[in-house]
């Protein structure tokens, strides 16, 4: 019993059936994708070789990664300020902000995307107003380009960025910051040496969450990009539904999956991932 307990935590036994279910439900499709990527249209590495041969594919992957990185930087950056404000304002304001944040999860991505067009499109509210008061002669191209995609994606992602940060900021004892001031640290010293390190796990969690979710964006780039910003998710969907190049689609899906796994693995070299996902350092 002693050795048994030491090798397998009893908690695992409780979730074992669930684990089996999850593994079969997820691993099955993943295996299917891998299989397709090596067999369709013909067996071999042909689909992967395309990455080297076709500028188009590389460009799509690069566009996707670039947009996701920028989205992540801005979402997490803005999310950090928002979470900070939420933690440090009074309870009533905090409740308002939390409600707004949660409500935004309920608004469909399609509605949000088209709202941006109304607001920032060529004939949108902002351009209309600026033109009316004579500040600009030509509408500013906020939408239907990469900037539009970024605005839409960042806006969608901010709530996702805020939540992990909020959790990690709320768990900081306010007296720790008082202590830092008391010991003579300036505001920026306290932030850089105490606050930032203490919120780092939340920051990493938030970054991972936003980046990974961004990779799967489809509607926003398709609509706000005006057709010129092609990201992997949309491309995969076209290959599946329109061009019937399932092998290419599977290869790209596998690439994304292993890209993300590689990223997690790299991060695990630098920090304990369990702290990021809510575990303790001890």
């Amino acid at each position: 019993m002693q050795t048994f307990n030491r090798s397998i935590h009893p908690g695992w036994l409780i979730i074992a059936p669930l684990l089996v279910l999850v593994v079969t439900l997820y691993l099955g499709p993943i295996m299917n994708i891998l299989w397709l990527s090596f067999t369709d249209p013909e067996p071999g590495l042909g689909n992967y070789a395309k990455l080297g041969e076709s500028d188009a594919l590389l460009r799509i992957v690069w566009t996707t990664v670039r947009i996701c990185i920028v989205t992540t930087l801005f979402s997490v950056g803005l999310g950090y300020s928002i979470a900070y404000a939420m933690v440090h304002c009074d309870q009533r304001q905090k409740n308002y902000m939390l409600t707004l944040l949660l409500v935004s999860f309920w608004i469909s991505i399609l509605v949000r995307t088209f709202s941006w067009l109304m607001l920032l499109g060529r004939k949108g509210l902002v351009n209309g107003t600026l033109e009316n008061i004579g500040l600009i002669a030509e509408p500013i191209a906020f939408m239907r380009n990469e900037l539009g995609v970024l605005i839409g994606m960042i806006h969608y992602m901010i709530p996702y960025a805020v939540l992990p940060l909020l959790v990690s900021m709320q768990s900081i004892d306010t007296r720790i910051m008082d202590a830092s001031r008391n010991l003579g640290a300036s505001g920026s010293q306290s932030f850089l040496r105490i606050y930032l390190p203490l919120t780092l796990p939340g920051l990493v969690a938030s970054t991972l969450l936003v980046f990974i979710l961004s990779l799967g964006f489809y509607v926003t780039p398709a609509v706000l990009g005006g057709g010129k910003v092609l990201m992997v998710a949309e491309y995969i969907s076209v290959q599946l539904l329109v061009t019937l190049k399932w092998g290419t689609a599977a290869m790209l899906a596998a690439l994304m999956l292993f890209g993300v796994l590689a990223m997690l693995w790299l991060m695990s070299k630098f920090m304990k991932l369990s702290t990021v996902f809510g575990g303790t350092t001890r």
Partner: protein, 368 residues
């Protein structure tokens, strides 16, 4: 949905195994119990349950109602069979997936004729039974082994009368001429129609388009890329125009009337050099209703159905018999009406069926 289908399929397989004695009774009953599906339903199978109706796979929205009134009612009167719908949109990939999975739930798909060329030879479609369906009740070349064109839609463009009122654009050459006609353009994102328009703008004759010169077409497309937006759905094309994002917009020609109405006539449809696209009925391999679907297709070819589809959906008849009967107030918006038929060009489903996938990817590469 998917899970349920999978479960039922598994059970039908095991029902067969049980009947053939490969599976013992207890295991079979346990399987049924576990999935919560009534034993009788499984044993009866799908075919009999479906035999009293055909399932049409279309794009939802208006089309459900229109297909019912235009075709379904007559079909029921003729055969006593009903019409049901799957409105999830029969994209080529979905048809392939349905047939590959062995769980075919639709009898006829409201697709494109080029789908018949790409999916037919790979064994995903039933051949059209031309002893029931008529080759003569569609345009020549649009009655193929695995699909027959029932309606025509098309690619035309609308322009902003305020921007170009005095000297309006007349053709695709004007559409691509941003020097003479400054302003934003919108084009279809999945290449179809856009490539042909580009070639015509570049001087290729409408009857000499195929095989498409891809390089030439893409060069032309890229020449106005800075001034172009690309849409992926009819509603997106509509909103780009109606919201004033573009001064000239390629649209699905059947939406022309709506756009003119929604902009109070500010935007006007140009049918010159419009590209007629054969919309086709195709039958997924192993469809549940079997051969009775051919009668349904034949019904849709009849003149009353053709005119009703035009009236209800704005889809133009492809049965030449109906061309002369297109009512006066539809003439401007029907691509094969007497007013338009001499100005239009015809899409080649053979070329698209064989080269469509590569063309779409090349197009996407060029615009992104």
């Amino acid at each position: 949905m998917h899970d349920k289908q999978f479960m039922k399929e598994t059970l039908q397989d095991s029902a067969k195994a049980y009947q053939e004695g490969r599976l013992d009774r207890r295991t079979f009953l346990a399987l049924c119990g576990a999935s919560g599906i009534a034993l009788t339903a499984v044993m009866a199978g799908d075919a009999e349950a479906a035999a009293d109706h055909v399932v049409m796979w279309n794009w939802g929205g208006q089309s459900e109602e229109c297909h019912s009134s235009a075709i379904g009612d007559a079909f029921t009167a003729n055969t006593g069979k009903g019409l049901k719908f799957d409105t999830s949109g029969p994209l080529e990939g979905k048809i392939k997936e349905m047939v590959d999975s062995g769980n075919v739930t639709a009898d006829v798909a409201d697709g494109d004729l080029f789908n018949a060329v790409s999916l037919g030879p790979t064994g995903h479609l039933e051949p059209i039974d031309y002893s029931v369906v008529s080759r003569d009740k569609t345009l020549p070349g649009y009655a193929l082994e695995f699909g027959v064109s029932i309606i025509l839609y098309g690619y035309a463009f609308v322009y902003d009368t305020k921007a170009y009122g005095d000297n309006p654009p007349q053709n695709w050459a004007d559409f691509f001429d941003t020097a003479k006609f400054p302003g934003m353009r919108s084009l279809y994102k999945w290449a179809n129609g856009s490539l042909e328009a580009a070639l015509m703008a570049d001087g290729v004759a409408g009857d000499a388009l195929y095989p498409l010169d891809m390089d030439r077409a893409l060069t032309k497309i890229q020449s106005i890329k800075e001034d172009s937006l690309y849409w992926g759905s009819g509603s997106e094309a509509h909103s780009m125009v109606v919201n004033g994002e573009v001064s000239m917009g390629m649209i699905w020609q059947n939406r022309g009337r709506n756009i003119e109405n929604d902009t109070d006539g500010r935007y006007k449809l140009v049918n010159n050099q419009a590209m007629a696209m054969p919309g086709a009925y195709i039958v997924p391999k192993g469809n549940p209703a079997g051969s009775s679907v051919m009668q349904f297709i034949a019904t849709a070819q009849e003149v009353p159905a053709q005119l009703a589809l035009l009236d209800c959906l704005g889809m133009t008849p492809s049965n030449p018999e109906a061309f002369g009967q297109i009512p006066e107030d539809q003439q401007d918006y029907a691509i094969t009406s007497a007013k338009n038929i001499d100005k239009i060009v015809y899409n080649d489903p053979e070329w698209w069926g064989k080269n469509g996938g590569d063309a779409v990817n090349a197009f996407l590469d060029a615009i992104s």
